[in-house]
């Protein structure tokens, strides 16, 4: 009976036994933090690409009428800069920047008012909208029986002031 009530060393044994679990929790927390950084980066990439594209105005039209109008190649500019921006975060991506940008749904609404069927938004000014699915590497999640790739949906909308 005495042995049953002997608590000596219990805390130490419990801590050592729980150590793998604690390490798993630590790894998961760090992976979650890294994922948050990656998500913020790809969102910033899409925002900047949309901003660059919306500044691609039809200069002749602007000079002639004083009205802001998107140039015809605005979607191509958005795609090009989305690829450029994503390339800067290539180690975080689970796919090539060019492929992700090529698959992105990019729409230019040159003649407002316009209705965006994808988002349900109504635009009163010339607008560029980027919607992309970006696969991100999450190797620790993969090791913890979750998916090694986490796909985030990114939406960026930009219109000139």
């Amino acid at each position: 009976m005495k042995a049953l009530h002997d608590d000596r060393g219990t805390a130490a044994i419990t801590t050592v036994a729980l150590l793998p679990l604690l390490l798993v929790v630590l790894a998961g927390v760090l992976q979650l933090g890294a994922l948050r950084v990656a998500v913020t980066r790809v969102r910033a990439a899409a925002d900047l690409a949309a901003l660059v594209a919306v500044n691609n105005q039809d200069d002749r039209e602007l000079a002639r009428t004083g009205v802001l109008r998107l140039a015809g190649d605005a979607p191509a500019v958005a795609r090009e800069y989305l690829a450029r921006e994503l390339e800067l975060s290539a180690p975080l991506l689970a796919g090539s920047a060019d492929e992700i940008a090529a698959a992105a749904d990019i729409a230019a609404f040159a003649a407002p008012p316009a209705f965006d069927e994808r988002t349900g938004a109504r635009y009163e000014r010339p607008t560029v909208r980027i919607a992309a699915e970006v696969p991100l590497r999450t190797p620790v999640f993969g090791a913890l029986v979750f998916r090694p790739v986490t796909t985030v949906n990114v939406l960026a909308v930009s219109a000139p002031r």
């Binding site: 000596r8 805390a11 130490a12 801590t15 948050r36 910033a44 500019v77 450029r84």
Partner: protein, 127 residues
């Protein structure tokens, strides 16, 4: 009872040497990620501004320095690269910022993490 003397201390020491590094790892890496996010945001703003003003100007570097200072980083310890220095109309301009963040985990290690951020914008100055 005499046998138990010191056992609690020994256990506590063992527990602390495991739990304290774990706790500090979460805190230190969390702070590093927060710093990285702040640096990323500052870099994006600087790239946008560099496109607007036409490249590497004191205003762009001043904006970056102000942003880094606001994040608790000494701008003197940050490496900034803006290429090209003079950007043409609708040409890409890239801003890269690199800094170091020191991580110290009690009982384990201390190291320096390199934090790098880059963003690309487009020249908007029609010279």
């Amino acid at each position: 009872m005499r046998e138990d003397r010191g056992l609690a201390t020994l256990e506590m020491t063992l527990v602390l040497t495991i739990l304290v590094p774990l706790l500090f790892s979460i805190l230190e890496f969390g702070a590093a990620l927060e710093r990285w996010l702040a640096q990323d945001a500052a870099t994006v703003q600087a790239a946008r501004f560099a496109g607007e003003v036409g490249g590497d100007t004191p205003e762009v570097r001043g904006l970056l320095a102000e942003q880094m200072r606001a994040s608790g980083v000494d701008p003197a310890t940050v490496t900034i690269e803006i290429a090209p220095a003079r950007v043409g109309w609708r040409e890409p301009v890239r801003v890269s910022v690199a800094s170091e963040y020191r991580i110290a985990i009690p009982f384990l290690f201390s190291t320096t993490l390199p934090l790098r951020s880059s963003a690309i914008s487009r020249g908007e100055v029609n010279r």
